[in-house]
Symmetry: C2
Subunit: 334 residues, 2 copies
């Protein structure tokens, strides 16, 4: 079968299509014929070597949708030919609220979804939400899961919240905006790109602030949110997170799922005096995944940035690297 | 009446006893004849000018116990002569989980408990827990309240927790140890003083680690706690808080109520990858205060460091400044 492989580190350009052996489902496993996959920032980090425990060569890709092609022994209640989406987290136990020690993720260390076939444990396979197209179904797994847990499970959003979403446009933050609007909350979004802010407004963002042209963007956030947001979702870290903590309203929840901007110097005072909850999250549990799917089954639609052909994998990853996208970048496999 | 007054900034030595007018209870207020008061670090910070919105001259002191001396108009259900303790937070509403904007604290900006008489709103007066001596009752209000909220309301302690308590010996952390043992949890405490660690062991601390003689004390914490504490209570900030975040177990709660060690540089990764809850807290609500009193009514006893006479106020504050105490420093007023 054809697969997008990484055999050496060096950035997006190292991604290429080659022919590898078809995977065979072991006991309890399901083989999926992939129709569409989607990129996450972790795929790009892996090409750059910016990820723990990289093993090469490997087929990348965490997100995928397709149809069930074959069943291993001991698999019940899944019919060949079913349209499915894959939860890319293998081995997360629902018994604890954080990831299990033995957890693995499709695309590293396990061979992933950027291929014509992938095998996964049967419990990672879910019926595809009916309203979604192939492209849309491929777009939701990892980013939708991360956003769902950030907004609902960790952030406990309510309709009276005023939600600050920093750096809108990336895969996860676009889902955060989608979910926050669905919850009925007021949203304040930032981006360094006016074009992305315009897209966010089309999605229903209530206030948009350009964080590049306004060094004091956090003060604009405060005045636009009646004294500060009650819920913040951030994956920037660095100075952005410090400003989030500064403007957060007393009693606010500040949910973080990344730190691409590096370390943050915090004043403990801003956290304890305002009784803030600073809540870390990363991906999500099977319960979160089911909750996320239910929202899409009920009619929500993810935002697709562009669809690339499999052979354009390096180009697609390059677009993600320079953060030009708004929404998810999809890879057409079949 | 006699009162401990601060008329100019300059540290503990500026505290002195002088004669001032007796306070009169206004409508809805109660006048308390104070028998014992107690010091908090904020009293010392105020003498140094390290506190917001200081107005001088002022009578300091947040903690106090005594008997009801006189009632203002509109006060019902409180009998003159009752033994009471005072909730020093004036105007905290139970409707929100964080402090109200209009909140004030006895001792600054309001005249406080280091005096023969103090007037407070009737709703801030509570029956003194029967088992407690005068000294003990004076010791509990602000530090017991802060610790109660940190451990129970914010930390949600359970008996299976392994609790890291940094810098044991200060007023609040001693209550945190008391409450954590009462909850049945395993406790790991640190201090730069072997004498304080010995006192902590006498209180039931399960593991004691000298953070001065062991630069890698956080690694000792990890190995003593089966892979990291599940609950951390810290008021140090600075490098200590950074180490707490590093050793906290996945899914742990890290409760902070102070930052005397200054700013902290955090790696967002340690928070989001481990799904940590970093929870700020400061003092507590009336509900917290009642919960705290109930524990002392049921038999818990606070730890008293020393009792000073009113005229020794500067000496008492000096002891707190250099952090020599273990437990609360009490001031005998009458």
């Amino acid at each position: 079968m054809k697969a997008v492989r990484l055999t050496e580190l060096g950035g997006p350009d190292k991604l290429h299509v080659e022919t590898v052996a078809d995977p065979q489902p072991g006991p309890g496993q399901v083989c999926i014929k992939i129709t569409r996959a989607a990129f996450n920032r972790r795929d790009v980090f892996i090409t750059q070597g910016l990820y723990p425990a990289i093993e090469l060569p490997r087929t990348l890709g965490s997100d995928g949708t397709g149809t069930v092609a074959a069943l291993g022994t001991d698999v019940r209640d899944i019919a060949v030919g079913s349209a499915v989406v894959i939860d890319p987290q293998i081995g997360w136990s629902d018994r604890t609220f954080h990831a299990s020690k033995g957890m693995s993720i499709l695309g590293m260390p396990l061979d992933g979804t950027f291929a014509e076939y992938v095998t996964v444990p049967a419990e990672n396979v879910y019926a595809r939400p009916l309203p979604l197209s192939d492209d849309e179904a491929a777009a939701i797994p990892l980013a939708g899961l991360t956003a769902y847990r950030a907004v609902f499970t960790r952030g406990h959003i309510v309709k009276d919240d005023i939600v600050l979403i920093t750096g809108v446009g990336g895969g996860v933050q676009t889902f955060v905006l989608l979910f926050a609007k669905h919850a009925g909350a007021r949203t304040v979004v930032t981006s360094s790109s006016d074009a992305k802010l315009e897209r966010a407004r089309q999605m229903g963002a209530d206030v948009t602030i350009n964080s590049k042209t306004s060094a004091a963007w956090h003060k604009e956030v405060r005045s636009a949110s009646d004294g500060g947001p009650t819920l913040v979702v951030d994956s920037s870290g660095g100075e952005t997170l410090a400003k989030c903590l500064e403007v957060a309203r007393p009693g606010a929840r500040v949910v973080i799922y990344g730190g691409t901007g590096g370390d943050t110097t915090i004043r403990p005072y801003s956290i304890f005096w305002k009784h803030l909850d600073v809540l870390g999250t990363s991906m999500g549990s099977p319960t979160d995944f089911r909750g996320m799917l239910a929202l899409f089954a009920a009619g929500l639609r993810p935002v697709i940035d562009r669809v690339y052909r499999m052979e354009q994998c390096a180009e697609a990853a390059q677009r993600l690297l320079i953060a030009e996208q708004f929404g998810k970048i999809v890879l057409a496999i079949a």
